[in-house]
Subunit: 287 residues, 2 copies
């Protein structure tokens, strides 16, 4: 069932809770792919009722980013959700979520701000304010849907870590379930932004997973020095790849590592043309 | 019943909700007086169950403020609550609320930040970060207790307006009930900080309400020009009063007024010695 208003989704959830049913929420920006589908399936399997929100959240886009051209495929998203057994697709307008005017302004809007130590690095460095927008909208969605469980992909692992921290810091009564990255057979991590890639770009995009898999293999073979592990990346890169970061950080608190261990995540971001891609891998997930 | 842990209060509330009972929350910093009592009585009358939180919240005190010497009277507070029919007095430690270390640091703690336009004026001007701390702790308390209603006094009216804005902006499923200021017969608004006043200071402190009542009387008599209304204040002040602000603002969005109307609130803050006192009056509440 497609619902556009906060009042309607609240009414539905209230009925479910009255009947003692558990509720799962899968927050998305739409353009759903098999990565989202894996989150949705996990929620449908775990919870009595599942809500998928589809909302391209303006306040998490920075100036110059792809808010206007971000892919919007609501009909297909709704079909994917229905086929997967979703109970409600919640697709509000920006006006429904933020009211008339005042969007993207912390002069007139209450924000939920993650700790600087978590948000000022990795993607937060180039996407200033991005995680403020993410925390604020997820907090709103939690308050609207009041789910028991919320499902997020490890693809956006910094986001996942920040949201877990938000839930802990603000005592939010929601359990966050993290879901593994879904990859094409080639290794490429699924992302809505892959739609921006030409066939040619797409084969260039394989470097992200190649670099990560190779680092994982080296770690498995006993190399733990982060500098040495980083060095292995450069042989994969060419002039079409503009590397933004390759960093080794703790899986829980994002502390930087000089020596890798099982709790280390390797984060990578690079641009191919105008398309910014991210990926990451946990070293303990040895394949 | 006095409870110190988040887990216990959650368990109790869960039982109540299972039985379909409504829950009221009265957040306080303790040192309860008849002002708090009026909030508590309102909650007890309106809700099936009432929780009073007693927590001197470190992150809403600014450097140099009275965190350490803020009055703490838990035994008396508990008695007042029990006598008034409160079901739970929730008195957590700072460690229970914020964990070990990291207190007062937005490097390591997720904050809820009210809009600058609401928080940068009046008390927010001298108490930088104060309302960030208030919004964050109230958000936490809302998530812990999940009340249907929360009761706040109009004494801290800027706080009340900011918390209503927070609830609206973040879609928090709590209704905020505002409760009128309780005054001594002399006119002095009740405040936990009145305990800091000597008898002599206390009679000096009457200027706050005298100024406000006189402005209200002038407004009733047809004066609406804010400059003229402000001028009337100065005849009450002497060298023992250090005026911090006297401002005329909209009761809903704190916009400044040049002409007073029924929706105008007059805000005043001044120091007597080291004791900072605040008061306010809505012009429409004609006595």
């Amino acid at each position: 069932m497609l619902i556009h208003t906060i009042a309607e989704v609240r009414e539905k959830v209230r009925e479910w809770k009255r009947d003692g049913l558990t509720v799962g929420l899968v927050p998305t920006m739409g353009a759903l792919h098999d990565g989202h589908k894996s989150l949705i399936e996990k929620s449908v399997a775990k919870c009595d009722k599942t809500v998928v929100s589809v909302f391209v959240n303006p306040i998490q886009f920075c100036p110059g980013e792809d808010l206007d051209k971000y892919p919007r495929t609501l009909d297909a998203d709704e079909k994917l959700c229905t086929d997967a057994g979703v109970d409600i697709v919640f697709s509000p307008s920006a006006k429904e979520m933020y009211g008339e005017g005042h969007i993207m302004s912390n002069d007139f809007l209450t924000y939920v701000i993650p700790p600087y130590f978590y948000a000022d690095k990795l993607c937060g460095k180039s996407r200033v304010g991005h995680f403020d927008g993410v925390c604020t909208v997820v907090n709103k969605l939690f308050n609207i849907v009041q789910p028991d469980f919320a499902f997020f992909g490890e693809k956006d692992r910094q986001q996942l870590i920040i949201l877990k921290k938000m839930v802990k810091d603000l005592n939010i009564p929601v359990e966050i379930i993290s879901c593994p990255i879904v990859r094409e057979e080639s290794g490429l991590a699924l992302s809505s932004r892959n739609k921006y890639l030409s066939e040619d770009d797409k084969s260039e995009a394989l470097v992200l997973s190649k670099i990560l898999f190779n680092i994982q293999a080296c770690y498995k073979n006993g190399i733990t020095d982060v500098r040495a592990l980083s060095e292995t990346a450069y042989s994969y890169l060419n002039e079409r790849h503009s590397l933004e970061y390759l960093e080794f950080r703790d899986a829980d608190d994002l502390e930087e590592k000089t020596n890798a261990d099982d709790n280390t995540v390797v984060f990578i971001a690079l641009k191919i043309g105008n398309v910014r891609l991210i990926d990451n891998i946990t070293l303990r997930n040895l394949c």
